[in-house]
Assembly symmetry: C2
Homo-oligomer: 175 residues x 2
């Protein structure tokens, strides 16, 4: 690690400098979490290649599969893109046969995007090894261990949520 050898002489408490000297295994857990993030990203990209769709369209399919058919306006915020971009994504999914548009039963302005069953099945088959693998790993733990892991993951979630809130608050206060 050859960074920040000069600079940053002292300006507050800094427990984590490079990778945590104080608790070797504690730092290791952070590394594992980061590794999982990288692996899950890699896996998603692999999955996208398998189904011949780009990242956005794959994510759209995931939402359509996990939450069921929905309108473009509902989908857009889940994808974090504009309404118009969602139209393009749906266009691509329809063109490649992964989904179809259906009129909304009561509101004629709306369109419902329905994932095609074969595509759902293919996505599921590709996802299953990971879903099952993680579920099995968790299921294989004795219940107390499962609770310990669950509690730790909950605390990690709290950390992220806290950091995001702090960041949002700081955005409100332009200093």
């Amino acid at each position: 690690m050859t960074f920040m050898e000069d600079e940053r002489k002292s300006e507050g408490p800094r427990r984590v400098q490079t990778a945590g000297h104080e608790h070797p295994t504690a730092g290791a857990i952070g590394n594992q979490l980061r590794a999982i993030g990288a692996l899950s990203k890699a896996f998603e990209q692999h999955l996208g290649r398998t189904l011949a769709v780009n990242d956005t369209d794959l994510e759209a399919m995931e939402h359509l599969i996990l939450s069921g058919p929905m309108t473009p306006s509902e989908l857009a915020p889940k994808l974090g893109i504009s309404n118009a971009a969602t139209t393009f994504s749906v266009d691509r999914l329809v063109a490649s046969g992964h989904a179809r548009r259906e009129p909304h039963p009561t509101d004629r302005r709306k369109t419902v995007i329905v994932p095609s069953p074969p595509s759902v099945a293919r996505a599921f088959d590709a996802l299953m090894p990971v879903l099952n693998g993680v579920a099995d790993a968790a299921a294989d733990l004795p219940p107390q261990h499962r609770d310990i892991v669950g509690a730790f993951l909950a605390s990690v979630i709290d950390v992220y949520e806290g950091a995001l809130e702090a960041g949002a608050a700081e955005a409100d206060t332009p200093a």
Copy 2:
């Protein structure tokens, strides 16, 4: 959950259908892992906004900070983009003052990308809450619990790596 009501009558063992009926807490752990993935993605985007860089450039900065200065050719595979695209990313980082190009000391073909200390400090300050938060959460665990969590995360990593290998193998065998 209104999906796959027809189709998929039976074609093999399927333990995880919607969200794991057999082991409620086991499924919960999978959900937690997914939540952590989503949160860390959201946090990265927030961080990118804070430093006024896009996702790619932020990831480049992270690699430059965590692994130290490196050449574009080393950076490109870490970003998962082409060499040429890395040139553009570096151009942007240099233009915004987050990094600078330096000639390689021995090989005059190469350029070394060096992150600017102030940008490193800013990124660090923004990252610290999460880094420290996770490290603290891990450090607060009694050692046996830490081992339990570490072992579980290791098994999750194995699951992903196994799935990626299987996917790669299947790509070789065009069926």
